[in-house]
Symmetry: D2
Subunit: 281 residues, 4 copies
């Protein structure tokens, strides 16, 4: 955690490191090729969950820009959205804020055969809330004390619970913040809170380490994944998840499509209705 103060830390070294961090790692084509068989196995897992009625919770945590959303998408992309729910809750209302802290998360826990991926979770209280002062130190402490019990109740009830913390160095984070600032498709991801948050990298580290100490339990362990290269990070995470699910083969239900007996039809419309002109760029 010691911070080397060098003569050259006049900005130049910083920019250099950030530029270096911004460099792409694994190529997209290679990534997609490696992801595909994993997504097939995720589909096998989903079929197994549906068949056995087991329930799966995946908690994705990490600093801003760490890649939680992208990881959630890598898992859920090819699954049935009615089976696999990505839960990304907004700010609590005043009423929710006054309730039992876990109360607003509980309704999103999965039913039989379902998957709930939490893109940020109850761990907000140990991270952003604590570091940014949105909760009191006392509330953060109560939370850290309650988590292991809360999670044991879920695991004890038969829920499969996986908790991933996505690691990213500050230079990489800076590069991604810069990217969000300029890319109009990512600009919405930035808020004034991020401006403050990026100044507090070290505080986040401390808060994260407290969290690991208090909540890395045998019944609900944390898995840390390096997301400095997001693609490698996602592959690593999905691979870990797949290799720790006690999946057993479940055959596909048999569906047979007899050949159509007649010439395939074309769309035809009543009077006054027709498709609009195609937009061909």
């Amino acid at each position: 955690m010691t911070r080397k103060k060098t003569a050259s830390s006049d900005g130049q070294a910083v920019r250099k490191q950030v530029r270096k961090a911004a460099k792409p790692g694994m190529g997209k084509a290679a990534y997609l090729e490696a992801l595909k068989p994993m997504q097939e196995r995720l589909n096998d897992a989903a079929r197994w969950l549906a068949h056995t009625g087991r329930r799966l919770v995946v908690v994705l945590e990490g600093r801003d820009t760490a890649g939680k959303g992208g990881a959630a998408y890598a898992i859920s992309e090819t699954l049935n959205p009615r089976q696999c729910d990505v839960v990304a809750l907004g700010r609590p209302s005043d009423r929710e804020r006054s309730q039992w802290y876990f109360q607003r998360y509980v309704p999103h826990l999965p039913a039989a055969g379902e998957i709930a991926i939490f893109d940020r979770s109850w761990y907000n209280r140990a991270g952003v809330e604590r570091v940014m002062g949105f909760c009191s130190e006392q509330e953060a402490k109560v939370f850290l004390r309650q988590v292991p019990d809360f999670e044991r109740l879920l695991v004890d009830d038969g829920i499969l619970l996986f908790k991933y913390w996505l690691c990213v160095d500050q230079a990489q984070q800076e590069a991604r913040f810069a990217d969000r600032l300029t890319d109009p498709l990512k600009r919405w991801k930035l808020s004034q809170i991020d401006v403050q948050a990026r100044e507090r990298y070290a505080e986040y580290t401390r808060a994260r380490n407290d969290m690991l100490k208090a909540t890395d339990t045998p019944h609900a362990p944390w898995t840390l994944v390096d997301f400095n290269d997001q693609r490698i990070g996602r592959l690593t995470l999905v691979n870990h998840l797949l290799s720790h699910l006690p999946i057993e083969p479940v055959p596909q239900t048999d569906i047979v499509f007899a050949p159509l007996r007649e010439t395939p039809l074309k769309e035809s419309y009543g009077r006054g209705h027709a498709p609009i002109e195609a937009h061909r760029p």
Copy 2:
């Protein structure tokens, strides 16, 4: 709607047409290049909605395999999931089935600044439910009578409502069904109901035309989009949506990132915690 029965409709002609339909249309790279500026404008639209508090509902309907999910993704992909909700409801419970038909859709209508994309919607009753016999003819008729009033209430309340019907010919549908049967990433999209549904292409056409006749109203018109080429379909749909939203420019909130003053930090962990080994394929 007349169906030419030809001597060669022994399967050969069918297969030929299906094979032809399966051929890819627009290339992926060209599609992504054309989509990107549209997604930038979607981000402008989202900012405008947030700024003005307007609410947007996009209804996506069409036969099985028409491309509703892909269209929803093209719109929502780069937007804030807390602002833009893709609503894909499962089967109603018995209790829901006995309530006012629209009751289970209403809670998903957007609040100020939000977007709700319905991937299948209340129009289920005019399509799959009617054709497959999941509701009575009487219920379908009540529905078709109620829809214009229901939608006028929403529009009159200030909600921006766009309804798209995605068109696809039977040969193309067959090709996509075949694809789902063999692609393990898409297999979950198939059920026994599809086996029956594909036999009823003509009934679906009739039901769709009834629906258009009853619910293509001045206050809530339908827009038909040819999705025989999904990529061109998506571009056409998004382009239509963008050009019909009364968007006015809303500047980005100003966010300034001062340069970091110190050497960027690296992740550091407490004792016993470290990232797992990367999975490099």
Copy 3:
């Protein structure tokens, strides 16, 4: 609506009228005796609803102190609370306020066999919200225009809808406000808003008359009931409701209790457990 200004309106006449209004009307014993057979018929009605799957909505509206809560209780008291729901919503959250006005009421509409009694309802907008300035005149007008369509959708869907407006003169209202001020069991019913509301009796009258004009429709008519004597008001309301429900006799399910074959047991507890001492006043 003309207000006689008399020489004696120095307070004396006012107090006299209020005192007179406060006098009890129908006695409690007579009321309960008359209510009982009606509650039996309400139980018949509930059985009929459960048997036929019909749904019943009762809207109770009226000025403050009119007796809405008491009327709701007279109906629901002896019914199964899992079948008969008294809906008394609090203030809308900011998010709800920005949604379609009817959106927060819709989830409380009854499922098959159920009764929903609205103690205040969507008509808030035509009454308290309009008179106290919690909505704009424009919003009130949109509401009055939308109500008939909204209610026709419900009625057309088969819901039995009864709307009651409970009438109370100002002197009686004053007497009841005074009662709430002094009775510690009713004090919670008073708020600062009531202080202002009681000054606006005439505005409420005008707003109510606008509401009747716009929303007293053939498919969802209003019934006005004099609640200056609350007990007679309740009997009148319940009697009206019962005589307008198309109830048909539904026999009780047959339940036979064979005599116990053994001596009845007494409660017995494990070590260290016993009832606390009775509190005998």
Copy 4:
């Protein structure tokens, strides 16, 4: 728990005991007189809760006919229904049944200043579900193991939790069952399940004692109250609750009603609107 088999257990002795049990205890007038000051103190408690933001959960458990509903009503009758919620959940849906057992109760936990009275609660699993075989022995055991942790999470979060078990002897229960069978206002309370349940008085005792053993914890103790006389039972329960709440005096908000300056108005209606004729029995 031993059951004396006597020669006279041919039914006569049974009937005699049941008849004796049916005899009324405390008179209604005396009960109401004793209850009133308690309800005033409950209003003080409610004001204190609202003022401090504390949250109160009251769990009411006991055999069929023990008097849970009546006890809930004694507490809630004079409180603001928007502050004090009586939670009486119906049977879980199939989806709920497959979720974490506590999941469907959690949303009903109180927010700041609120009271939630559970008329039957999560303890269903230790009582009716276990005795009637609606859950497996294994599920009942998991439940009994989880309860203390679940409740500690709530208490640790600052929720005030009171758990009451209402005691009733079998003869008294028989008398009440008989009453429900004949009183048309109470008939809905009976179902086929009751027929079976009344045969299992002893099994319920055993299950209740197991429950007490496992869940009567220092942080969430059980209080047993004799409800063989329901009125005395209610007074005892409310008295216990009041004397264990750490209430501090909170003054009423000051509300001043200036005398009306003008003659009180009478209701007046637009053309065509008038109250219906009063129903005077």
